[in-house]
């Protein structure tokens, strides 16, 4: 029993920590001062940690976001080619967004977007409506709509006129460099890397984030001719995107055993942060967009489910939770407290885990979580009924343990089933279905944790210890 109390104390402490993670941000007024209460985040302890805060990611449905109208201008395209041109540009644009989405996933961030097409063939209007939850910087979005044509200026100092004066050399815009014949078509893949060899002229100060470009095997001769033909080291290659210089070739050595002699790192001339680097990398990852693709409108977007819906949902969830627990107390009387405590733990664990994983807070997630709550409640009720029946003639610790293990065993089966289904869902499910199942799955896992660890100790204390204390 003492062991149980110690374990309950441990789980109690953990529950308090998770509660601190789960609580929503709110403001209280004490006297004349306002205090902002927010949840516990990694940045409170580790300011440099990759994940800065534990929070739900916003959804367009409940929190609104931003909408960009990308227009594909068809003025110079023949009528018969307009749809094809639109489709090619749309596919390239979607590919860029998807690549960026994957980069963000690696950085433990999420980007959900909706893409819609609005076409009026009569007026030759072809638009892409791209919607992002929450706020997105307009300048960053506009980078996605730049054509992204790559050109590379490489060292040509060995072929320079030996009679050229220093003034003449200085007058040349990019020094003793010439444009190479490398194009977007030669690029196999572009990645964001953190590598100590990615520096320009000072090995002691590399960039945090660089772009690693791997070329196709078919571009080997262009690569050799561009980067290896004149390796004086005085004029490192410069990467241009749409005629604007964005990076110089890193002077550090790149070790690529998979594609030897086809990979280089670019030392970027833009902000040294993951997201900006990822945007550039995603623009470089595919064929260029046509120069008729323009971001011509950018606005805020109201929550599609209604501005106040999230607030109403919060009130409804709290009311539901209260009503359910009151019902349990009325029906099971004092024994109902076990269910109430387990339900509270379930709510804390589920919300905290969802926040830690930064899930997108949309209606599907909430409703999926509710279904998992119903499943958890069913098992808790099942356990309570068993205990009530067994306890009518007195109950021993072993009997309690057996009843508990019986319930837990079946909940474990449910958890395993859910995990297997999660694997299937992650491969096949459409977005809304996946979101609902994520809510359900996380809820089931929270339920499993509650039932597996604090549950048994609570059960023993609440039933056995309380019998000795003559509480019931």
């Amino acid at each position: 029993m003492t062991k149980s109390i110690i374990k309950v104390a441990f789980w109690g402490l953990l529950s308090i920590v998770l509660l601190a993670v789960a609580i929503p941000t709110f403001t209280v007024k004490l006297g004349e001062d306002y205090y902002r209460i927010r949840n516990l985040s990694p940045s409170d302890f580790f300011p440099e940690f990759l994940v800065q805060e534990y929070a739900f990611a916003p959804s367009i449905e409940l929190q609104g976001g931003s909408i960009g109208t990308v227009e594909v201008d068809m003025d110079n395209i023949g009528e018969s080619d307009q749809l094809t041109n639109f489709q090619i540009n749309r596919n390239n644009f979607v590919y860029r967004l998807n690549v960026f989405q994957n980069f963000l996933k690696r950085g433990f961030k999420t980007l959900n977007y909706d893409l819609q097409e609005a076409i009026s063939t009569d007026n030759s209007e072809y638009k892409l409506l791209v919607k992002f939850p929450g706020f997105i910087d307009k300048d960053r979005l506009s980078i996605f709509t730049t054509p992204g044509s790559v050109s590379v200026w490489v060292d040509d100092s060995l072929n320079a006129d030996p009679n050229m004066t220093e003034e003449e050399k200085a007058a040349k815009p990019y020094g003793l460099r010439r444009i190479s014949n490398i194009t977007n078509e030669d690029i196999a893949s572009v990645n964001v890397v953190t590598d100590s060899s990615c520096y320009y002229d000072k090995p002691e100060s590399p960039r945090n984030f660089c772009v690693r470009m791997t070329f196709k095997a078919s571009a080997q001769s262009k690569f050799n001719e561009g980067f290896l033909a004149n390796p004086t080291g005085n004029y490192p290659a410069i990467l241009f995107v749409d005629q604007a210089p964005v990076a110089v070739k890193s002077t550090g050595q790149v070790l690529d055993t998979v594609n030897p002699g086809l990979t280089i790192d670019w030392y970027l001339l833009i902000d040294d942060d993951y997201e900006t680097t990822a945007i550039l990398a995603s623009v470089l990852n595919d064929r260029p967009l046509g120069d008729n693709v323009l971001l011509n409108d950018f606005n805020s977007l109201e929550a599609t489910a209604g501005v106040e819906t999230l607030k109403y949902i919060e009130i409804a969830l709290i009311s539901t939770f209260l009503v359910v627990n009151v019902l349990l107390l009325v029906y099971f009387k004092k024994r109902g407290w076990l269910a109430v405590i387990l339900n509270i733990l379930f709510a804390i664990f589920a919300v905290a885990i969802m926040k830690i994983f930064g899930l997108v807070l949309d209606t599907a997630l909430i409703l999926g979580g509710l279904v998992s709550f119903l499943a958890f409640l069913s098992f808790v009720t099942y356990m309570l009924y068993q205990v009530r029946t067994a306890a009518s003639g007195g109950i021993s610790e072993d009997e309690i343990e057996e009843l508990y293990q019986n319930t837990k065993k079946h909940f474990t089966y449910l958890t395993i089933t859910t995990c297997i289904l999660a694997f299937i869902m992650s491969n096949f499910a459409p977005a809304f279905m996946l979101s609902m199942f994520i809510g359900f799955g996380f809820g089931i896992i929270a339920g499993y944790l509650v039932l597996s660890f604090p549950g048994v100790h609570l059960l023993k204390i609440l039933f056995l210890k309380s019998l000795a204390w003559k509480i019931w």
């Binding site: 009026s120 007026n123 109201e302 019902l327 599907a364 279904v371």
Partner: protein, 311 residues
């Protein structure tokens, strides 16, 4: 409760099920699915105003002309009206009429509209449904492990699962398409509510299975129906309690999602009602039918001795 069961005979139950199946199929064939603009192509009218308006006000004005499938608001004064199954004349009429009833309309343009991204949705959902069903049946089989049943005894129990879930899903589709005819647009939230309704049926099934299992372990009778009757007699108050919990947990929060989703909450109620009907009548009579049928008799499957081994 036993008296209530006696009031409706097996034949009446069979007729009720038959009528439900026919009605559901008829509803599906007649009304089809009123899929939202997220799942099928649509027309969108974009109206730009010269002043700020609330989405609610614009929605009520639009609904007076022709009810759009959805309306969204961009910035403070730009509105998108999504229409489905609407012809060119109606679109033009809406655009003209809206410009009349709404002051300060700067431009009204219409476009063909479609979502990009998600493809092969139906095929993917079918794959998930089939695999989920198989996983559920495996779960059922594992639940009955070590209860003294023979392998062949699993067949009627698995048949009951298939039968119950099949009818439930068909019924939900039928009710859904009828609601679609009443104007409910089947967007992603609708389908989430649909899945919740299916999940409720499954959760009840799991509870019934757990109690049925407990009763099987206590009973010496090898007749499924007898065990089921005993289980029903002893545990029906538990099921009433669970049904109450389900209504509170799954219906109450839906009431705040707006009127259109309140209509979708009917699906959840249908799922709960079906689960009650299934628990009280359908499952019992179906087990009775299976027990009486020659299909699953021991003589019939004597040759397949592996089925007679203990599960």
């Amino acid at each position: 409760m036993e008296n209530l069961v006696k009031k409706i005979s097996a034949t009446t139950t069979a007729w009720i099920v038959l009528v439900l199946i026919v009605l559901s199929l008829a509803s599906l064939l007649l009304f089809k699915l009123n899929l939202g603009p997220e799942f099928s192509s649509a027309r969108v009218i974009v109206a730009q105003l010269d002043h700020e308006e609330s989405l609610k006000d614009i929605e009520s004005k639009a609904n007076e002309i022709i009810r759009p499938a959805a309306i969204t608001k961009e910035s403070t004064s730009k509105f998108y009206f999504y229409f489905q199954n609407t012809n060119e004349l109606e679109i033009t009429a809406f655009a003209d009429k809206f410009a009349e009833v709404q002051p300060g309309v700067l431009t009204v343009k219409d476009y063909n509209f479609s979502y990009s991204g998600e493809i092969f949705i139906v095929e993917r959902v079918i794959i998930i449904a089939v695999i989920a069903l198989i996983i559920h049946l495996v779960y059922v089989a594992i639940t009955f492990k070590d209860t003294g049943l023979k392998r062949m005894d699993l067949l009627p129990l698995l048949s009951v699962e298939l039968f119950s879930l099949g009818i439930a899903v068909l019924l939900l589709f039928g009710v859904g398409s009828a609601l679609g005819e009443l104007g409910l647009v089947m967007d992603s939230i609708y389908w989430v509510i649909f899945l919740i309704a299916v999940a409720i049926v499954i959760i009840f099934r799991i509870y019934v299975l757990l109690r049925y299992r407990d009763m099987l372990k206590k009973q010496s009778s090898n007749k499924f129906v007898d065990v089921y009757k005993q289980m029903f007699k002893k545990y029906w108050p538990e099921f009433v309690f669970i049904f109450c919990l389900a209504i509170i947990v799954c219906v109450l929060p839906l009431t705040v999602l707006g009127t259109k989703y309140l209509l979708a909450a009917i699906l959840v109620l249908v799922a709960i009602l079906f689960s009650i009907f299934n628990f009280i009548f359908l499952e019992r009579y179906f087990l009775e039918f299976l027990q009486g049928s020659k299909f699953l008799s021991e003589e019939k499957i004597k040759s397949k001795s592996s089925l007679l081994k203990k599960w």
